[in-house]
């Protein structure tokens, strides 16, 4: 088991966001973590990646207790966040370099690996350009490439294809599947596109209101709910009501930016 989660719980000022969930992910598996807005997906991913401290429960990443052996746990994974975590004012190459130094990759290896990875995602020719001039798809590709500099065992992806066109989405999944096959990388991702999860993942967990309501492979879930697609299975399990989510600061800012542009 490369990821083990036991009785994980998180509450914010008394409001329970994740309520006593347990699951595990096998080495080399592609694991989809699905749920409606505000179900606790991002909160869970933040706890798995040590950004957020759980209220209670245990997490083992690559065998390391994420609380006690935090640095070892952190070296074992890479994460691609929902919104970009690149530095816009740096070039593609500098972003890669920065990451390498943070993960103490030696200079000689770093140079070679950056070239290899930037070629892999087709950005080598644009390495000297500032990230602020990149399109959404290019940024996402760069982030995926950056995550691999320290050779992680697990790749976390929080809605990696959100807001991308179908071409770029396919491209990104092709990379990820290739990495999974060639390097035996474990993939843990969240998405709202059920068809993606259905096509790609070996195992699916569905979380709703902080609780895991279903766990199994996609065909399993379809059979269990007597539905013909994962999309329908998802709706059968989580209901058809729309969810409310707290507006985050970044969203407020985006709204304001739009207003200013007018």
């Amino acid at each position: 088991m490369i990821i083990e989660v036991k009785n994980l719980k998180k509450s914010f000022n008394g409001i329970v966001a994740v309520n006593d969930i347990s699951f595990s992910v096998e080495r080399g598996e592609i694991f989809a973590f699905l749920g409606p807005n505000g179900a606790g997906k991002t909160t869970t991913i933040k706890m798995l990646t040590t950004l957020l401290e759980p209220t209670s429960g245990d997490i083992y990443i690559n065998g390391f207790d994420s609380k006690e052996k935090q640095d070892e746990a952190r070296k074992s994974f890479a994460i691609v966040f929902q919104d970009s975590s690149l530095d816009d004012e740096l070039t593609a190459y500098e972003n890669m370099e920065f990451h390498g130094v943070l993960y103490s990759v030696s200079r000689k290896i770093l140079k070679k690996r950056i070239e290899e990875l930037l070629r892999f995602v087709g950005l080598w020719d644009r390495r000297e350009e500032f990230v602020k001039n990149f399109s959404g798809g290019m940024k996402r590709r760069l982030e995926v490439a950056r995550g691999f500099i320290h050779l992680p065992k697990i790749l976390f992806l929080d809605e990696p294809t959100l807001g991308l066109d179908p071409q770029t989405r396919n491209h990104i999944w092709d990379y990820i599947i290739k990495l999974n096959r060639e390097k035996k990388m474990t993939i843990f991702f969240t998405t709202h596109y059920m068809e993606e999860a259905d096509r790609i993942s070996d195992k699916v967990a569905i979380i709703d209101k902080g609780v895991i309501v279903a766990l199994g492979n996609p065909s399993n879930l379809r059979e269990k709910t007597k539905t013909s697609s994962l999309d329908e299975a998802f709706l059968a399990l989580t209901g058809k009501d729309m969810r409310e989510e707290e507006v985050k600061a970044i969203d407020r800012m985006r709204i304001r930016r739009k207003v200013h542009r007018r």
């Binding site: 640095d71 740096l90 943070l102």
Partner: protein, 248 residues
């Protein structure tokens, strides 16, 4: 060490790449020097018999350093909102190293900015009284830069988004600059007013700069140095602590 270096380097790269920011803050300092320096010059001359521009320039240099320093610290909010902070926070690196690297970077940038303002002052007509004390003046610029970058970091660590920024501008930064004696002499002030100035750390920074650049000091250089270093150490500790507690 490498980690602190790369974080430091990032702050410097961001600084020299934001040309608008450099030009903007240079323009601001020049405006203050010209408007106040020449505007109040005649009255000041009549009242005290001194050259106001000589008196004002160290204050404006301190102001330039403080603004750049606090903004560098505050940049953490920016990184928080645009995601880059997460990249550093999930890395297998202690938060203290991150904080130290960023703060040293911000302080370096602020020191450079202070030096630029000093050059502008010289162009406008400011003259150094004692060249031998100049290295000491540089030292005061550095310590002011460190102090206020650490303050910016501490403030930014507790704020969620840029909303609180205006508040900080109006209720922290402006009072610190305007109530520090950057613009007026500290002699014969009303008691309550004098008290505010005594508890404002920048008063000692401005005074230290005056002591070293134009050889007139109100508190004395030793006191200036002592107060500034104690407060810098305190804010460094506080900033590190608050930064280490950031949760996204």
């Amino acid at each position: 060490m490498k980690i602190i270096y790369i974080l430091w380097l990032r702050q410097l790269k961001r600084y020299y790449r934001s040309k608008t920011r450099i030009v903007g803050s240079m323009g601001q300092s020049l405006l203050f020097l010209v408007a106040f320096g020449f505007g109040f010059g005649a009255i000041y001359q009549e009242a005290s018999g001194g050259d106001y521009l000589q008196f004002l320039a160290p204050g404006i240099i301190a102001m330039g350093v403080v603004f750049t320093a606090v903004f560098s610290g505050i940049e953490i909010i920016w990184d928080k909102q645009f995601g880059f902070l997460k990249e550093t926070l999930v890395a297998p690196v202690s938060r203290y190293k991150i904080m130290i690297g960023r703060t040293l970077g911000g302080a370096t940038v602020a020191t450079i900015q202070g030096f630029i303002v000093l050059l502008i002052s010289l162009v406008v007509g400011f003259r150094l009284e004692n060249l031998y004390l100049f290295p000491l003046a540089l030292f005061f610029i550095i310590i002011i830069a460190l102090l206020f970058t650490a303050l910016g970091t501490a403030i930014a660590s507790t704020l969620k988004d840029m909303q609180g920024f205006q508040l900080i501008m109006n209720f922290v930064l402006m009072p610190i600059v305007f109530l520090s004696g950057a613009f007026f002499p500290l002699e014969n002030l009303p008691k309550a007013f004098n008290f505010i100035i005594t508890i404002n750390p920048l008063s000692y920074g401005v005074d230290g700069l005056r002591g070293t650049l134009i050889s007139t000091s109100h508190f004395g250089l030793h006191i200036d140095f002592l107060v500034l270093s104690v407060i810098t150490a305190f804010l460094f500790g506080l900033g590190s602590y608050l930064f280490s507690r950031i949760q996204i």
